[in-house]
């Protein structure tokens, strides 16, 4: 096969700002940063709780500082975007069959929201009881 030299125009770094769907796509991809951030946040919490009562109080003080609160508000927005888009994409990524029949996408999506509700209720109960 002979080598082909093709002219490729460089795509602008800001290509995703031109269309709403592109913008939502990139925002969805950026949720990864906030997931990593919150794992770090939870590790700090666990390490404080594992340490002492005063370290836990200190953690809560730090977590209520304006910068951390602002970051966590953003985190909640991005995690919500991640959850909604992830749930709605699942039927396309995974074909579920029950007794040889394809389960409709809407059922798969609804099942995940039920899972979310159960897990949320359980965690709420576990930490606040």
């Amino acid at each position: 096969m002979s080598e082909q030299l093709l002219y490729r125009r460089r795509v602008s770094t800001w290509w995703w700002t031109r269309k709403r769907t592109y913008f939502v796509f990139v925002m969805r991809e950026l949720s990864s940063i906030f997931i990593a951030w919150f794992v770090v946040f939870l590790l700090r919490l666990l390490s404080a709780v594992g340490d002492s009562r005063s370290a836990y109080d200190h953690f809560l003080d730090w977590a209520s500082s304006p910068l951390v609160v602002a970051l966590n508000v953003l985190t909640l927005v991005f995690i919500t975007l991640h959850a909604v888009t992830w749930f709605s994409l699942t039927p396309q990524a995974m074909a579920v069959q029950v007794r040889g029949r394809a389960v409709p996408g809407s059922v798969i999506i609804a099942a995940q929201y039920v899972g979310l509700a159960i897990v949320s209720a359980f965690i709420f109960w576990l930490v606040t009881r």
Binding site: L30, S32, I35, L46, G50, N72, L76, H82, L116, I123
Partner: protein, 124 residues
Amino acid sequence: MTQAPAVRRPKRRILPLVWLTFSGGGVIAAVFLPVLVLLFGLAFPLGWISAPDYAHLHAVVTNWLTRLVLLGLFVPMLVHSAHRFRYTLYDGLQLKRKLLIAFLCYGAAMAGAFASLLVLLSMR
């Protein structure tokens, strides 16, 4: 589909594993994180709901089953995050140093996994 390529690159073998962990981490983040962010990120620090009593929270998180579950949640989420961020850098910012980016992203996820293990094991 035509014939499979004669030469298989080694990276193909680990790709399904990364993809599986990416998907698992995506589900975990979608199902577990909203309530955790809402409670520990906002409601407890801001006093919307009184923060859990220390003795109770300590008992819950130092339970060995909890530690194991938390490790099983954190590691896939870190891999998910690294994998997605890697493609954000490729596609979003059009960066070209692909091998370096992959190395940094998965390296950070592995460092995070190791840190998680340390924190979970060292809780007293």
